[in-house]
């Protein structure tokens, strides 16, 4: 075998018999192999309150599925040795996507095998090997897409493809025997309500934070003396731990309610949705204001001066030049705020605001990990989806902003 030139250029001495072209992929494969060898793919427990005993992948899913996963894994590690090309990255993306869906199907398959003939109280949970395998497959796919320099459309197709695949597995009942699915099955309606409540909490608080924060940011840019006091207050707010802030709000809101009882008719209360939204807005203000200020002050001064010199009015300069040029930064702020609010809204369940956090805290109370996951996983997916959507939007806007 000849020596290929590595990323550092051609080597003179023949020391390495083979050349690794994709170190990232190789590391992912190694990590996945180690986790599969050392930890359980699924766990089986006699009931939902005790943690399950680990079962390795080959014992859990049978020879055929294990062989399929092995073949895909070997295929991925083999591609590390081939010099990179668009075709190769494309192939890696497809193999990784297939692996991700196969791992998911394998977990469902394993669960359905294990519950056969067992007591109805038996719970099959997802083990560390599953999570690591799935994560490695997803990262391998993301890495391949990045190397392909895939555009917005390609990324959208990839993400939608995976989501549709997972959804069709769920629709076919492949995943039904998993304890996560059983927890979901018991709370179908409650779950749907919680997701909607979660999205509402985040949507309302981000909208309110934008409506307050954007004008505040613009004012701080036009009047720099405002910046110190505004950022001083917002920075202090940001340092208050979220649980404490939710707690702090109970006292003033209860007092307000006592003073103006009619507010109660509009749903205002010391606990529940009102303090949750107030707290989320307060946390969202700093990123919104900061990105507004950074975005607007980052606009090339020469463009503004030229606009002024050519007779644009201050309003025309703001709408036509400053705002569009700052927009990518403003959208980046919105992205940060949305993802942050999705996470923080989980904690808001503590003060009775509802949402996905309800499952998390209920699960923690019952020591039922699957119930915690039922709250945490959708929150993570919501955050990833929001991040992806806003990132796509930013990329599209950055590309074109004609007058």
């Amino acid at each position: 075998m000849t020596v290929q030139s590595g990323p550092t250029g051609p080597r003179t001495a023949v020391l390495v018999p083979i050349c690794i072209h994709n170190q990232v992929l190789l590391v992912l494969v190694i990590v996945a192999v180690i986790s599969v060898a050392l930890s359980g793919f699924v766990g089986a427990a006699p009931n939902r309150l005790v943690s399950g005993g680990p079962i390795p992948i080959w014992a859990a899913t049978g020879a055929l599925t294990t062989a399929g996963i092995t073949v895909l894994g070997v295929a991925l590690s083999a591609t590390c040795l081939i010099p990179p090309s668009r075709l190769l990255h494309c192939a890696v993306a497809w193999v990784a996507a297939a692996l991700l869906l196969l791992v998911l199907a394998a977990a469902g398959h394993a669960a359905s095998l294990l519950v056969q003939g067992a007591k109805p109280s038996v719970r099959i949970s997802l083990g560390p090997a599953f999570w690591v395998l799935a994560a490695c497959a997803a990262l391998a796919m993301g890495d391949a897409l990045q190397r392909l320099e895939a555009g917005v459309t390609a990324q959208l197709v990839a993400v939608t493809g995976i989501a549709l695949g997972a959804a069709s597995l769920g629709a076919h009942g492949t995943l039904d025997a998993l304890s996560l699915a059983q927890e979901f099955e018991m709370r179908r309606q409650v779950f749907a309500d919680a997701v909607i409540r979660h999205i509402t909490l985040v949507g309302v608080s981000v909208a309110v934070a934008t409506m307050i924060g954007f004008p505040l940011g613009v004012a701080a840019v036009k009047r720099p003396s405002l910046q110190d006091p505004v950022f001083g207050v917002l920075n202090i707010l940001q340092t208050i731990p979220s649980i404490a802030l939710f707690g702090f709000l109970i006292v003033p809101l209860s007092a307000l309610l006592a003073a103006v009882p009619r507010l109660g008719e509009y749903g205002v209360g010391g606990i529940g949705v009102t303090p949750a939204i107030i707290a989320l807005v307060l946390y969202a203000l700093l990123p919104v204001v900061r990105n507004t200020v950074v975005g607007l002050t980052g606009v090339d001064y020469a463009a503004v001066e030229a606009g002024r010199g050519m007779g644009m009015t201050p309003g025309q300069i703001f709408r036509g030049i400053e705002l569009p040029l700052a927009l990518p930064v403003l959208l980046a702020g919105l992205r940060i705020v949305t993802v942050q609010a999705i996470g923080l809204a989980v904690v808001a369940a503590l003060i009775g605001a509802g949402g996905l956090g309800t499952f998390v805290f209920e699960g923690l109370g019952q020591y039922a990990v699957d119930l915690v996951l039922l709250g945490a996983l959708p929150a993570i997916f919501l955050a990833l989806a929001a991040d992806f959507i806003l990132q796509t939007l930013t990329a599209l806007l950055r590309r074109h902003f004609a007058p």
């Binding site: 090339d300 001064y301 020469a302 463009a303 503004v304 001066e305 030229a306 606009g307 002024r308 010199g309 050519m310 007779g311 644009m312 009015t313 025309q316 036509g320 030049i321 569009p324 040029l325 902003f401 004609a402 007058p403």
Partner: protein, 307 residues
């Protein structure tokens, strides 16, 4: 076209423009020449009200500028700055059409005007119209900047060190084109620079500025031959003054009409300095001269340069 009357501007306690008076006739190419901090940029920016004067009057086309709304005034005056300031999110076409759009010209008229201007500045419209500023070189960007300033056919053009940030070769091209545009359109131009060669090449009048006032106002030849003070003499530089004089005189002034010479002819409006340079490189003491149409009309000899 412009009358500046006893205008003063303070920055804090510092008097950056000190009761300055200057009249620029229509069609003039007036260069405000001076070192940094002499008040030349401030003076320029007071003409289109980007900076408000603290005392005195400025009239454009006979009208006191304070009586015209600032935006309306600026739309009548072309403005070019050193940092160019193209709008990075707009195409070349949209950039050039900025003022026509502000003036609500119909779409077809804007389009035709952009085509005309891009051709005038030697940017092929088909290639450049849809490009974005970041796809252009520095020189091309400033061409677009000049086209944008000329878009609404303003009576007056203000240029604040427009070629200060481009490389010497491009600067030379741009200066040549600006001189051509001035000859062709007879627009009044006020041009700020600290580059003496640039001022000598372009100006019909130079105002040498010192401490917020005008040290001398005159034609390039006047300033070189009769500097009004030691300051002006020092500023234009005593060294190489002979070459500078050659650079402001044209072959047309010294040509021997009807005589002939060998070799590629030079145009009538070539400077004597370029003629000397051509003689040196061609190792000859006689050059043929042609008119704008390319017909040979005479010759010039080395001795004519020093007459």
């Amino acid at each position: 076209m412009i009358e500046i009357d006893e205008v003063t501007k303070y920055y804090g306690d510092r008097r950056v423009v000190d009761s300055l008076s200057l009249a620029v006739p229509a069609g003039d190419f007036c260069v405000l020449l001076g070192s940094s901090g002499c008040g030349k940029s401030t003076t320029l920016k007071m003409i289109n009200r980007l900076i408000a004067a603290d005392a005195g009057q400025i009239r454009v086309a006979g009208k006191e500028i304070g009586t015209i709304p600032a935006e309306a005034l600026r739309r009548r005056i072309g403005y070019v700055i050193q940092s160019i300031g193209l709008f990075p999110h707009w195409t070349v076409e949209d950039n050039v059409a900025t003022v026509p759009r502000l003036l609500k010209w119909p779409r077809e008229r804007r389009r035709d005007r952009v085509t005309e201007l891009l051709e005038m500045l030697r940017l092929a419209p088909a290639v450049y119209r849809a490009k974005y500023p970041h796809q252009l070189s520095g020189g091309e960007q400033q061409r677009v900047g000049v086209a944008r300033a000329l878009a609404a056919d303003p009576e007056l053009l203000l240029m604040d060190e427009p070629f200060g940030a481009v490389d010497p070769v491009t600067r030379d091209d741009l200066q040549g084109e600006l001189a051509g545009i001035h000859r062709a359109t007879k627009k009044t131009i006020v041009f700020v620079t600290h580059d003496i060669e640039e001022a000598l090449r372009l100006a019909t009048h130079i105002a040498v500025m010192q401490n917020g006032g005008i040290a001398q106002l005159g034609s390039p030849l006047d300033i070189l031959e009769h500097p009004a003070s030691d300051f002006v003499a020092d500023f234009i530089g005593r060294q190489g003054i002979g070459l500078k004089l050659l650079s402001v005189r044209k072959i047309a002034d010294r040509m021997r009409a009807g005589e002939t010479a060998e070799g590629e002819p030079l145009a009538l409006d070539t400077s004597l300095r370029d003629a000397l340079s051509a003689m040196t490189t061609r190792r000859t003491n006689r050059l043929a001269v042609c008119d704008a149409a390319g017909h040979r009309v005479g010759a010039i000899a080395l001795a004519d340069l020093v007459r």
